[in-house]
């Protein structure tokens, strides 16, 4: 058994696979009517692919790779707004490296940079704030994106700018929030989810209470999981046990990092600086109610949306790109017509190909050959 040797504890990995096999059989799930477990976090997606978990699990369990990679769900209109701000004379536009290559309708931030816009990669919003300190005559904009994991950093940086009176710093806030997103997934008619592998680091910030509605109203289990492959396997065991015992509860597999109540300081900063938007536009998923946050009016002078009057353009995704269906788990990445030759990590058409946490890029990297074969197979059966 070669595969198990790759795990930190091969013996434990084997035992968990065996347990999953027998529990799954007991549920009566089959290849034709599988149990669908969605991992919401891109970190999990990355781990699942790196260790080939999907292929190792019994085929009556399907993993659906959810919309948890913030870079992957960035719509083109927002990239266009970023490029427009970056091209404004006097601006230094700062961003996490991951967002540089996301395609907009007129090219990516990287392309804008090569055409002369001052776009700089930063590791942290604190670095962007430091650039503002060092360049008082320039306007420094930080592109804030991500779920609740990165939201506190943006909020605390704005609070720091306010405390120091650094007025040439602003945040282009495109943070998204997890709970309304999960709700939208549960309400979507073409999705059938039997349980959730809950995001570890988002939960480290928000705690477990916000998930309760999933168990109470939708009667689905959610288990907060660490991102190690053994964590994920253990989580699947916990989900299967809940299903077999007829329970739907919020459980925590990752208690060594995730406290029950979340992080009070981080939550305090978030609610001070941000408020919910009516809706937020996602790539592939369309508009989801209350799924994003904007800055409160009190912080308008640090809000790039106000400073630069961004147009909030809506640009439809390219027709042939099927990112939306992949995100919802309706098709697998290799079933997209563009996968491989047209859309690949070197030359991404859709955002799911940009980040290593996007499911298309993950398939391409770790399951490239296999995916090609599957695609050929899908074509043969389709024709």
């Amino acid at each position: 058994m070669k595969y198990a040797d790759e795990f930190r504890d091969p013996g434990l990995a084997r035992a968990l696979f065996a347990r999953i096999e027998s529990l799954a059989a007991e549920t009566g799930a089959t290849k034709e009517r599988p149990l669908n477990f969605m991992e919401v976090c891109g970190g999990h997606t990355h781990s699942i692919f790196r260790y080939g978990l999907e292929q190792l699990l019994p085929d009556c369990i399907d993993l659906i790779h959810g919309p948890g990679c913030p870079v992957c769900v960035l719509p083109m209109g927002i990239v266009d707004d970023c490029v427009a701000i970056a091209r404004t004379p006097g601006v230094i536009f700062t961003t996490y490296g991951d967002a540089m290559r996301v395609p907009g309708s007129g090219g990516s931030l990287l392309a804008a940079k090569s055409e002369g816009a001052d776009v700089r990669m930063v590791y942290s919003p604190l670095d962007a704030l430091e650039l503002a300190r060092r360049n008082p005559e320039r306007e420094v904009v930080f592109f804030g994106l991500g779920f609740e994991t990165t939201m506190p950093s943006s909020a605390l940086t704005v609070l720091e700018a306010e405390a120091e009176g650094i007025e040439n710093f602003s945040l282009f806030c495109n943070h998204i929030t997890i709970i309304p997103t999960i709700k939208a997934i549960l309400d979507s008619p073409d999705m059938r989810i039997d349980g959730f592998i809950g995001p570890g680091h988002v939960s480290m910030v928000i705690g477990q209470a916000p998930y309760r509605f999933i168990a109470e109203r939708y009667k689905r289990p959610l288990v907060v999981a660490g991102f190690e492959p053994l964590d994920i396997l253990q989580t699947i065991v916990m989900l299967l046990e809940q299903i077999l015992e007829g329970r739907a509860e919020i459980e925590n597999q990752y208690s060594r990092v995730v406290p029950e109540g979340g992080n009070a300081q981080a939550l305090g900063a978030i609610s001070k600086v941000f408020e919910l938007r009516e809706f937020f536009e996602w790539r592939g998923l369309g508009s989801l109610d209350h799924s994003g946050v904007r800055m409160r009016p009190d912080y308008a002078r640090f809000d790039a949306e106000v400073k630069f009057a961004t147009r909030n353009r809506r640009i439809a995704d390219p027709k042939s790109c099927q990112c939306g269906e992949v995100l919802k788990g309706v098709i697998k990445p290799w079933e997209c017509k563009l996968f491989g030759e047209v859309c690949n990590p070197e030359n991404p058409v859709g955002a799911l190909m940009v980040s290593s946490e996007g499911s298309c890029s993950a398939y391409y990297q770790y399951a490239g050959m296999r995916a090609k074969a599957l695609r050929a197979e899908a074509r043969i059966t389709a024709s």
Partner: protein
């Protein structure tokens, strides 16, 4: 960007702004401790502790064994190197 990386707090550099030097896989950089600091504990008491660092902010205290495990898995995933590169290539070195 979302997974974070473990680091050891080595020195408090700014008490009021809650900034510290943190050693992350051999790289030292300034990290904000606001999310793991508590009112009734001096910041100094965090020196030597391990934390999970996300984009320049310590988000959760972890123990040394957990830190070592997490680092190993991040290395296997290729994420550790990505984080370190992001730190080294950042437009400003803090």
């Amino acid at each position: 960007m979302c997974l974070g990386i473990p680091g050891r707090i080595v020195e408090i550099t700014d008490e009021t702004r809650k900034l510290a030097l943190v050693e992350i896989s051999g790289v030292r950089r300034q990290v904000n401790l606001a999310c793991i600091a508590s009112e009734d504990e001096p910041l100094d008491s965090l020196i030597g502790e391990w934390a999970l660092v996300h984009v320049g902010f310590a988000m959760s205290r972890i123990n040394e064994a957990e830190a070592a495990e997490t680092l190993k898995i991040l290395q296997a995933l290729g994420e550790a190197q990505e984080e370190i590169n992001a730190m080294k290539q950042s437009a400003v070195q803090l």
